[in-house]
Amino acid sequence: MAINIWKYASPQTFYPLAGKLAPWFLALAAVLAVVALYIGLLVAPTDFQQGNAYRIIFIHVAAAWMSMFIYLVMAFWCAVGFVMNTRLSFMMALALAPTGALFTFIALWTGALWGKPTWGTWWVWDARITSELILLFLYIGFLSLHAAIEDLRRADRTAALLALVGAINVPIIYYSVKWWNTLHQGASVSLTRAPSMASTMLVAMLIMSLAAWMYAIGASLLRVRLIIAERERGADWLEAGALP
């Protein structure tokens, strides 16, 4: 049996679906986070170079990956919105931005707390760190530009343009440690070679990233419902009982 995915491109049909799915994603995120914390904080051994300061990695890497990934998904929805002219795509982009900004902030914050004991400084204007800060400004810029334009259609399109242009920053963040001589270390995990860390550490990091992923989906589904409910105010299908 074929499921018609286009059916869910309309806010009216996506709204109840998002409401059904969101709690499952959030519950899964919670379970995965507990497993990752258990392995990362209790089972994984102390690092021979960094001592226990390295345990920041479990949040830092998960948050940093998600900050870049969410941005790409957001830019993807903006592109879909431009090409297909679907309202829901722009709402998805708008729903993702705050969660993306949150993960970017967590990545920067934990990076500072990790930098102090290992590099001796909270902050350096290093290519990786500076481009991650620009990512935070892009998220904030996207949200404030959207909020500043009264007409929703124009707000959607103008902010989407900013998101698309800003997408160039994501590969810059990712490859910054290769292209420039940075204080920030290179990738610990890559598809082309064996990871440079103990397997329990790696497992905890991957499970935590999966938890962050599930959380981001759950939170943005909840937010897209709010956006739909706010925008479709007055629509017949949106009865008071169906509100988020």
Binding site: A53, R55, A235, P244
Partner: protein, 54 residues
């Protein structure tokens, strides 16, 4: 298990401030976002005559 006691676990080998500071801020951020989403949903529901307003 890589710890001998709870005290050793919380001390994080002298890095308690950095490690727990990271985890605490992440937890606060996530709790804050979920609270904010709930708050927005409540405000939306409590607005009177919502379904018929422009």
């Amino acid at each position: 298990m890589s710890w001998n006691s709870a005290g050793e676990f919380f001390a994080m080998g002298g890095y308690a401030f950095y490690v727990w500071g990271s985890y605490a801020v992440a937890a606060v951020c996530i709790a804050g976002e979920l609270w904010w989403l709930r708050h927005r949903a409540r405000t939306l529901r409590s607005r009177p005559g919502l379904s018929r307003q422009p």
